[in-house]
């Protein structure tokens, strides 16, 4: 039985927040793409991996982590645009399973390509010197970089919320995920909106990747387990619900953190148990809408 001091528990909650932050970034991207395009993007984990590797390359070239932090997600988003344009768009109108299957194949390819380009071992990313130490939070010392991750996630989410709620483009996106037919009928080029959304969604995955890099290193397989966990987060939150993705991501981050603390052997399986329980009582997840992809 671990030391149950309040300090240890509080440190645990913060750790759960960091994990939750990464989950939220990934889940929101997946949910955006799914909600609007009904596409289940199985390559999301591989794009997260690319974010970490692009970050590595950019840090090497520019010498600055912060520059890389901005550029890497943009590069991954740009790559996402190419994927949408050339690989996913040809599949519209066909079985809804097709984009899922295609992106599954894409994930295999991307992992292999990463191995071929950057080697089989994996690479190390260093947090910037400014964030290398630890901060005294009162009840414990917590690594500064991890606090930074929490902060960045919060800022990006607020930015995304503002974008969706307060801009015209955001309005169209929200309308499009509710009723794509109507939006088309009103004369909007839904194709361009989907293009943009896929880019944003994948860019978020890339951001999650470069944020995670300094904590865990970058290696070709890093996206393989996290894609499954991200799907669990999205399903729990409800496919297509962004708020659901945020709540679910934070919740599951805490659950994993606390399980690791109290019952480490269950840490791997707890997300699935939790998901099964949620789905038992709420058939479409916490905030999902019935009828989407059924």
């Amino acid at each position: 039985m671990p030391d149950l001091s309040l300090a240890a528990l509080a440190a645990q909650v913060f750790t759960g927040l960091v994990l939750g932050g990464i989950f939220v970034l990934l889940a929101v991207g997946l949910s955006l793409i799914f909600g609007l395009m009904t596409v289940v993007n199985f390559s999301h984990g591989a794009l997260y991996m690319l974010g970490a590797y692009f970050g590595f390359v950019l840090i090497g070239r520019t010498g600055s982590f912060f520059v890389a932090l901005v550029l890497a997600p943009l590069l991954v988003g740009a790559f996402g645009l190419l994927v949408e344009r050339f690989l996913i768009r040809p599949l519209y109108g066909r079985s809804p399973d097709d984009p899922l299957l295609l992106t599954f194949g894409l994930s295999l390819v991307l992992v292999e390509v990463a191995r071929l380009i950057w080697g089989k071992i994996g690479v190390t990313l260093d947090p910037p010197a400014a964030l290398a130490g630890a901060v005294n939070l009162g009840f414990t010392y917590f690594p500064s970089y991890r606090l930074f991750v929490i902060a960045v996630t919060a800022i990006v989410l607020v930015g995304l919320w503002l974008f969706l709620e307060k801009t015209n483009v955001g309005l169209v996106i929200r309308a499009g995920s509710r009723d794509p037919m109507m939006v088309k009928a009103l004369g909007f080029d839904v194709g361009r909106i989907w293009f943009l959304v896929f880019g944003i969604g994948t860019g978020l995955a890339g951001l999650a990747g470069i944020l995670a890099g300094p904590m865990r290193g970058a290696y070709a397989e890093m996206g393989v387990t996290i894609i499954i966990e991200s799907f669990v987060v999205v399903v729990v939150g409800g496919m297509g619900s962004l708020l659901g993705a945020v709540i679910s991501g934070l919740l599951i981050g805490q659950i994993v953190g606390l399980t690791t603390f109290f019952a480490p052997k269950l840490a791997e399986i707890i997300v699935f148990i939790f998901m099964a329980l949620v789905l038992l009582f709420r058939p479409s997840g916490l905030l999902g809408e019935a009828g989407l992809l059924e």
Binding site: G119, G122, A134
Partner: protein, 406 residues
């Protein structure tokens, strides 16, 4: 056709059938050694070193005329670190490619799946990575040989050294799978036997890379030594997180095995002052003549110094040859008998020998320590040799403990 022609043709035909059989008996068909390895996956770098070690061994053999006057060929296959694939590749190597010998495996579970196939076919198998079970009943067989160290030996050796030199109050973090659990168990036993205390044992799911959940608790317990059984990339993630919490200044860090490729990937900043065991390190060329020959030949052929696990493969290839020459045959059971009757050898790191009851190789181990940045010797001189521990059958389980009643 008339009867005479028929008889002559048949006789000629029969002779033609008999002739190749005669030829085959003296044939110069190559001797083939099959080598399943995880060329893809998280341990691919170690696998690459093993492939190179084996290739160097093949070169050495062919330069001397091969095995029993026949050329030696190495057939490497990717087992993807998966037992089914390893088993399938082994079947392919035996059935389709007619390999007379199999070496390999880099992962206990894959080795055992490979072993199941070689046992059935009675083909000699020399296993080249860690496993406690492969040399014990019921997995082992008369044609199953184990060249590499195993968790019992590794953790007894390293555990004892850490107790004697670094501290007696430990906390152990270990990956929750067979290798991790075995090392954890042996380390704990060794600590207790020598009068120490283990303040805690923390399992984590292999590959999870998320340790910060455990670290505050460990820090609060104040162990003298933090022992981490964290293979591959997990170790790098672990050390990063440990250092970010400042723990390296409060306690010593030790692990059962150092891998040079992982130390290189992590870098001297991360591996500074981290202790670990090994079966081989290229700087040993300074003290062991066989090692010097190996390192020089390896460097010449591949332009980089050899790693640790490659030595297992090199040794295995040479042992296959030695056994075949002694037995004057390539039949698995005959070669196995020959090796058991002539168990001592020294190809690269000093004296090694096969124990008769379980075909287990005993060999020296070394304790290494990460050098500080700035003190490294070139790109690969990342580790300092701190101690040498001579081989001793007491470091492994006894024959009886492994189920051998002979």
């Amino acid at each position: 056709m008339n009867r005479r022609v028929f008889l002559t043709t048949t006789a000629a035909g029969a002779a033609t059938f008999a002739f190749p059989a005669v030829l085959r008996a003296q044939s110069k068909d190559p001797v083939r050694i099959g080598f399943p390895l995880p060329m893809t996956g998280p341990f691919a770098a170690i696998a690459a070193d093993m492939k190179q070690g084996a290739e160097l061994g093949i070169d050495v053999l062919n330069a001397k005329g091969g095995i029993l006057g026949r050329k030696v060929e190495l057939l490497v296959r990717d087992d993807q670190l998966k037992p089914q694939v390893g088993a399938q590749r082994t079947q392919e190597l035996i059935e389709k490619e007619n390999c007379q010998f199999i070496i390999g495996g880099l992962a206990a579970h894959v080795q055992m799946a490979i072993n199941e196939q070689t046992k059935k076919a009675k083909v000699l198998f020399i296993s080249t990575s860690q496993s406690d079970e492969i040399s014990a009943k019921p997995d082992t067989s008369p044609v199953t040989f184990h060249e590499a160290l195993n968790p019992t030996i590794t953790s007894r050796v390293v555990g004892k050294w850490v107790m004697d030199n670094l501290g007696k109050k430990w906390w152990i973090v270990y990956a929750d799978y067979a290798w991790g659990k075995q090392n954890n168990m042996v380390l704990t036993e060794t600590n207790k036997k020598l009068g120490g205390t283990v303040l805690g044992n923390t399992p984590y799911p292999l590959g999870s890379a998320e340790f910060s959940a455990h670290l505050p608790k460990i820090q609060a317990a104040k162990p003298e030594v933090l022992v981490h059984v964290t293979p591959g990339a997990d170790d790098i993630a672990f050390l990063k997180q440990v250092k970010s919490f400042g723990m390296h200044q409060q306690m010593k860090l030790a692990k059962p095995l150092h891998w040079i490729s992982i130390a290189k990937q992590g870098g001297p900043e991360l591996y500074q002052d981290v202790y670990g065991g090994t079966n081989f390190y290229w700087e040993m060329q300074d003290s062991i003549p066989e090692a010097k020959k190996y390192v020089e030949a390896f460097q010449k052929k591949f332009a980089i110094p050899p790693g640790d696990y490659g030595v297992y493969a090199y040794s295995a290839v040479l042992e296959v040859a030695r056994g075949a020459e002694l037995a004057k045959a390539t039949d698995g059971e005959k070669v196995a008998d020959a090796l058991r009757k002539n168990p001592t050898y020294n190809h690269v790191k000093g004296k090694q020998w096969w124990r008769a009851c379980d075909n287990k190789s005993f060999q020296d181990m070394w304790i290494l320590k990460g050098r500080a940045p700035g003190k490294t010797k070139g790109e690969w001189g990342l580790l300092d040799t701190v101690a040498r521990v001579a081989a001793n059958e007491e470091y492994d389980r006894t024959c009886a403990e492994k189920g051998h009643t002979a």
